[in-house]
């Protein structure tokens, strides 16, 4: 027994001599082979981020020779740890062309690739990156909101965190210099993850090579921890609702609201509807970079009228060079589900079109090129505040199309950001969803149930009486 503690290490030693793991050279060779198969297309043969596919790519692929890594758990200007690199390879970078390799490469291949990437810059041999400690104590998002103001985060990220700050608006949208700030309401686009832990590291160490500098010396650990929780709290987290495709107009008593706030809207469930660029039809342009990534939709009705409240983020809200606009699309014929881009020749669609400057029109379309414009029979109430459009569409329940309880009517949402050069078919669009209206409260189901119960009782008594007799 006393010899046992020595036994395990010695066996391991013997095993390691008999079956040695891959040598450093073999690991590098494996890493290089994977790199030349998978990575060089974007990151280039020499790792300078200048591969054949890198042309026009934004953001640009990482230059492994300069080794200016953005997503790190280390201080500003430092190299990333192996774990940082492994994590990025494994999960990819959302919102960029960098895919997640977790299901394609094995763990061993991940490690080999990291070893190879590190061999591309001499800095890795000389420096030993150390991860920053992350607090695990309680945090106060309310205090974080004050830090957000104090540290002037709003200059780039906007007052409400929608990436629409004065600096971003001027540099990116006015002058075309691509320094865009993260929209905090879209947590799924955070390059390094949207957990408070991840956000804390980004705030503390900054993102190398971008205007997002380090706040390690500017804010205390607790301030940064509070701020990280505040930022995380802005995330709208659509992941739970992306598959939810039913807009239910909640029933309320009395008049429908004409404003975008107010208690009535609390009754309606908010749906986050993902939007994507229109990339099917060109000319004029397949549109890969719409500025809206999602819109939020709520609907109400009062038995006579129906109201849709559509909200989406737009960093500028300016009417230049083109006005912003939005529309709701419905099938023009009962029971049809037309082609989602303005319908088709057999299946026309009706569009409720709104354009900033208070244009409201009703369109009937049988394809993108065939649109007939009529005056609107619906009302629109738009507002723009803190980087967000809120547009309320209101119409009678009856009409073309009509909204009825128990009926599921296809509906589609689309928005255009004029400042981003969007107009016509250059736009962000959803797929078809459905809309239905909440059934008015009535005693009929109860009466029916009662009648059935009574009927069943009568039948039962009759059967019993028959059996007795």
């Amino acid at each position: 027994m006393p010899l046992f503690p020595l036994f395990v290490p010695s066996v391991l030693f013997v095993l390691s001599v008999l079956f040695p793991g891959p040598s450093q050279a073999e690991t590098l060779d494996l890493g290089r082979a994977i790199y030349m198969q998978r990575c060089f297309w974007c990151h280039g043969e020499t790792g300078h981020g200048d591969g054949p596919s890198a042309v026009g790519m934004f953001p640009r692929p990482r230059d492994f020779v300069a080794a200016d890594y953005k997503i790190r758990s280390t201080p500003h200007g430092h190299l990333p740890t192996d774990e940082d690199l492994l994590r990025v390879i494994s999960r990819g970078i959302p919102g960029t062309p960098m895919p997640a390799w977790v299901k394609i490469l094995s763990q061993e291949e991940h490690h080999a690739l990291v070893a190879y990437l590190k061999s591309l810059s001499p800095r890795f041999a000389a420096e030993k990156p150390q991860p920053l400690p992350v607090p695990d104590g309680p945090a106060n998002p309310e205090a974080g909101k004050e830090v957000y103001r104090k540290a002037r985060c709003f200059l780039c990220h906007g007052e409400a965190g929608r990436g629409d700050g004065e600096l971003t608006a001027t540099l990116n949208f006015e002058w075309g210099i691509p320094h865009s700030a993260r929209d905090f309401t879209r947590g799924w686009t955070f390059k390094g993850g949207h957990e408070p832990h991840d956000i804390y590291l980004r705030i503390t160490g900054g993102l190398n090579g971008t205007p997002m500098g380090p706040y390690a010396d500017i804010l205390t650990d607790q301030e940064r921890w509070d701020l990280a929780h505040y930022v995380a709290s802005l995330d709208l987290e659509p992941s739970a609702t992306t598959e939810d495709f039913l807009v239910t107009a909640a029933l309320i008593e009395g008049n429908l609201p004409e404003t975008h706030d107010g208690p009535a809207w609390q009754k309606a469930r908010m749906l986050t509807v993902p939007l994507a660029g229109q990339i099917v039809q060109s000319p004029p342009l397949r549109w890969w970079t719409p500025s809206a990534g999602a819109c939020n939709v709520r609907a109400l009705h009062n038995g006579h009228d129906i109201a849709f409240l559509v909200e989406w983020d737009d960093p500028t809200g300016k009417p230049e060079p083109l006005p912003d606009s939005a529309f709701l699309q419905f099938p023009a014929q009962e029971g049809s589900k037309p082609y989602f881009l303005f319908g088709d020749s057999d299946n026309p669609v009706k569009l409720w079109h709104w354009q900033a400057g208070n244009t409201a029109e009703e369109w009937t379309a049988t394809g993108s090129a065939n649109t007939e414009v009529r005056p609107a029979i619906f009302q629109v109430y738009p507002s723009y505040k803190e980087g967000r459009w809120r547009v309320l569409f209101r119409r009678s329940l009856s009409g073309e199309p009509s909204f009825e309880a128990g009926k599921f009517l296809p509906v589609l949402f689309s928005v255009r950001d004029g400042a981003n050069g969007e107009s016509g078919n250059v736009r962000a669009t959803s797929t078809w969803l459905y809309v239905t209206v909440e059934r008015p409260r009535s005693f009929r189901p109860w009466l029916l149930a009662l009648a059935y119960m009574l009927g069943a009782g009568v039948v039962e008594l009759w059967v019993l009486a028959k059996l007795k007799s």
């Binding site: 026009g56 934004f58 640009r60 300069a66 200016d68 500003h76 540290a151 002037r152 200059l155 780039c156 004065e166 600096l167 608006a169 001027t170 540099l171 006015e174 002058w175 075309g176 210099i177 691509p178 320094h179 900054g206 190398n208 090579g209 971008t210 205007p211 997002m212 500098g213 380090p214 500017i218 970079t289 981003n420 050069g421």
Partner: protein, 439 residues
């Protein structure tokens, strides 16, 4: 709508192998659009700087966002900028009268001042400053991103309310010594020319505020020397990310730029393009400015001898259109550029020779087609819309002339010149006629 950031564009200026096309400096490929702020206190007056920080949008072509600084914050930022100004910034010796107003000068000083400003006005005209800068009164074009010295109503934007004398002298002499990436060319002004231009800019009413600035509280700017203000200002400048557009001493650099290439060796064509900033206005293969003609295939169009003479003494070509400034190039420098254009800036579609034609028939065609409506030929009256053809044979390559007559819109699809569908014979006749137009 995303464009490639200028600093991502390659800025190579390496010396090419013999016979290889030289890489030319494009001033738009610069890492930061804003001027450096380290010595901005030597350049501009505190009141102007304060106004710029408080109301950047005063300036219609300003790129600067509105930071919504409070009065105190603007003072803090100014305090830091003042603290980093280099005390050894070059100063000039100025005659004592330059500090006086015109009312207090004696006759001798007044004459000296008038002579100098007159000379300065000539420098201003020859350098075609109005291509980029505005002055009070009629005239003056402005190209996006260039500095407007006169903006309607905002008197603080005017040179005399903004600029410091010593800075202005060093700027007109050696713009790159202050702002390495400026779009402004170096004009090779002599010391006296630079002094005359400075005097003109600081005296002429074209650059004078039209309203008297409000009197400032005495000692207002003393507060800038407060050390706590300086450290608050530094933090504010850091948090406001001023370094995204400006170089500022002592502030952490956040963006990573490719290392700046060494300037090209002197007297090469690369160096001349770097020094004179030709691509601020001209473009070559899509790189450069849009104000002046594209040079991509000028070698097929223009005679080298004409390019050479034009660079030394730019004359009017289109009386109603913009004119090129005089850059004071030496004959050797002009030859270097002309040789480069002749060798590398060619269009393979343009023929190098022209078929024989009858000049007399050409003259008749010139009249019958109504060419005189837009062009002068030195024979009687003519129009000013098209370039003057008085000495066209000295300017254009014969092959180009023929090609252009045949296909007026092949070279420039937006040309106002009508396409008459001339036959080879007609075009050859017209060419023969025009090729007789020599000095």
């Amino acid at each position: 709508m995303k464009t490639l950031h200028p600093f991502l564009a390659v800025m190579l200026l390496a010396v090419p192998a013999p016979g290889e096309e030289p890489r030319l400096y494009n001033p738009y490929d610069r890492p930061k659009n804003g001027p450096p702020l380290t010595n901005v206190f030597h350049k501009a007056q505190p009141l102007w700087l304060w106004d710029k920080l408080k109301q950047p949008k005063h300036h219609p072509s300003a790129r600067m966002p509105d930071f919504k600084f409070s009065d105190e914050e603007a003072m803090d930022a100014l305090a830091y900028l003042k603290s980093i100004a280099d005390p050894s910034f070059p100063k000039q010796e100025w005659p004592p009268w330059t500090a006086k107003t015109e009312d207090t000068m004696n006759d001798e000083e007044l004459t000296e001042m008038m002579n100098l400003t007159d000379m300065g006005k000539a420098v201003w005209g020859n350098a075609r400053c109005t291509v980029c800068h505005k002055a009070n009164g009629p005239g003056g074009t402005i190209i996006g991103g260039f500095v407007d010295l006169r903006v309607g109503g905002i008197d603080l934007q005017i040179a005399q309310a903004k600029l410091e004398r010593d800075w202005l002298y060093s700027w007109v002499k050696e713009p790159k010594s202050y702002f390495l990436d400026t779009l402004m060319p170096r004009y090779r002004l002599s010391d006296s020319e630079a002094r005359a231009l400075v005097e003109f800019l600081l005296r002429d009413e074209a650059f004078r505020p039209t309203t008297e600035p409000k009197p400032e509280a005495p000692g207002r700017w003393k507060a800038l020397d407060d050390p706590s203000r300086i450290s608050r200002g530094k933090r504010l400048i850091e948090l406001s990310r001023c370094v995204v557009c400006h170089d500022i001493k002592g502030i952490l650099e956040l963006l990573s730029f490719p290392p700046r290439p060494a300037p090209p060796s002197e007297n090469t064509v690369s160096w001349l393009f770097y020094d004179v900033r030709c691509l601020s206005c001209h473009s070559i293969e899509g790189r450069g400015g849009t104000y002046a003609p594209d040079l991509t295939s000028e070698g097929s169009r223009l005679k080298a001898s004409w390019i050479h003479d034009f660079l030394i003494q730019p004359d009017l070509i289109r009386p109603l259109s913009q004119q090129m400034p005089k850059f004071n190039l030496s004959p050797e420098e002009a030859k270097t550029v002309a040789d480069y254009v002749q060798q590398f800036r060619r269009d393979p579609r343009v023929p190098t020779s022209v078929p024989p034609g009858e000049a007399e028939k050409g003259r008749a065609l010139f009249q019958s087609k109504g060419c005189v409506a837009c062009h002068t030929t030195g024979e009687g009256p003519g129009g000013g819309v098209g370039p003057t053809l008085d000495f066209v044979a000295d300017r254009l390559e014969p092959g180009y002339l023929f090609h252009r007559l045949k296909h007026p819109h092949a070279v420039n699809p937006f040309s106002a010149e009508p396409d008459y569908g001339l036959s080879d014979e007609e075009a050859a006749a017209l060419s023969a006629y025009l090729l007789g137009k020599k000095k």
